[in-house]
């Protein structure tokens, strides 16, 4: 993977998912944040990704039908 000195925005795009998943090392986070602080192009795309994640989650949230809950309870071993 190319470092920030090669193509900083490309590198920043590469680390966006692991950054948002909080799986980067401290040093990598620091590098990414240094770039983000001075790059509105990448910063916008990171903010977009965060709101996209929240929105996808909201849209995919479907409540369990109450009848199903009752059916599941009826599967329990009788005492």
């Amino acid at each position: 993977m190319a470092g920030y000195e090669i193509d900083p925005c490309e590198k920043c795009e590469e680390v966006m998912q692991p950054y948002l998943d909080r799986v980067l090392s401290e040093a990598e986070v620091h590098e990414a944040e240094e770039h983000l602080a001075g790059c509105p192009y990448c910063a916008k795309r990171y903010r977009f990704e965060e709101s996209l994640r929240v929105f996808v989650r909201k849209c995919c949230d479907e409540q369990m039908p109450p009848e199903l809950k009752q059916k599941l309870a009826s599967l329990r071993t009788p005492l």
Partner: protein, 196 residues
């Protein structure tokens, strides 16, 4: 003789208590289990059947659950196995999937599609409808979607997802990576053909 009978009765009573506790804890998680199931399959009916089968099996084999470990992951493991056993349609091998776009692709497309090129990055998602999102997610091939659903909607760690799906953690990471990109490509298609 009275002694052993009492011991036996105690053991039976203790086991019954453990089973009741297990069942109650499992039922408390049913909303979360359903939410994940609903996005792993296409229809509500399939999701309901799958969750019922999962609980029937979980209640039968409750003794194989190790108390103190992650019950939600244990239930989801049963559920994903059942889902695969149901003979879901064959997928093309991951390698044959078309190459997905980069991570900035969707935003770039939304920006291009806006008239003045000036979009509020925190509001632009609102141009997508719930149907767009649900439709795009169901268009992601199963192998990728399973991981995206478990991690992004089910809040499972990479490690939990690896155990649930019985695949190496590296595979979880690469499928997640590609799955999210495929999802964004699908969203981009919907967002830019929707006419908004």
């Amino acid at each position: 003789m009275g002694e052993t009978e009492t011991d036996g009765a105690r053991r039976v009573a203790a086991e019954a208590r453990n089973r009741v506790r297990f069942e109650e804890e499992a039922l408390e998680l049913s909303d979360q289990v359903y939410r994940v199931a609903r996005r792993l399959v296409s229809t509500r009916e399939e999701a309901e059947d799958l969750v019922q089968e999962t609980y029937a099996r979980a209640f039968r084999s409750w003794r194989s659950f190790t108390p103190g470990t992650n019950l939600r992951a244990w239930l989801l493991r049963i559920l994903t196995n059942l889902n695969i056993d149901r003979g879901r349609r064959k997928q093309r091998a991951p390698d044959e999937q078309p190459l997905e776009e980069g991570d900035y692709f969707l935003y770039n497309r939304l920006e291009q599609a806006s008239r003045d090129g000036n979009v509020d990055e925190e509001r632009v998602v609102e141009r997508l409808s719930q149907d767009d999102i649900v439709g795009a997610l169901s268009a992601v091939p199963h192998d990728f979607r399973d991981v995206v659903v478990l991690v992004d909607l089910g809040d499972f760690s990479y490690q939990d997802a690896a155990q649930i799906l019985d695949i190496p953690i590296g595979t979880v990471m690469s499928r997640l990576h590609r799955g999210r990109r495929i999802l964004k490509r699908e969203l981009a298609e919907r967002a830019t053909t929707g006419g908004t």
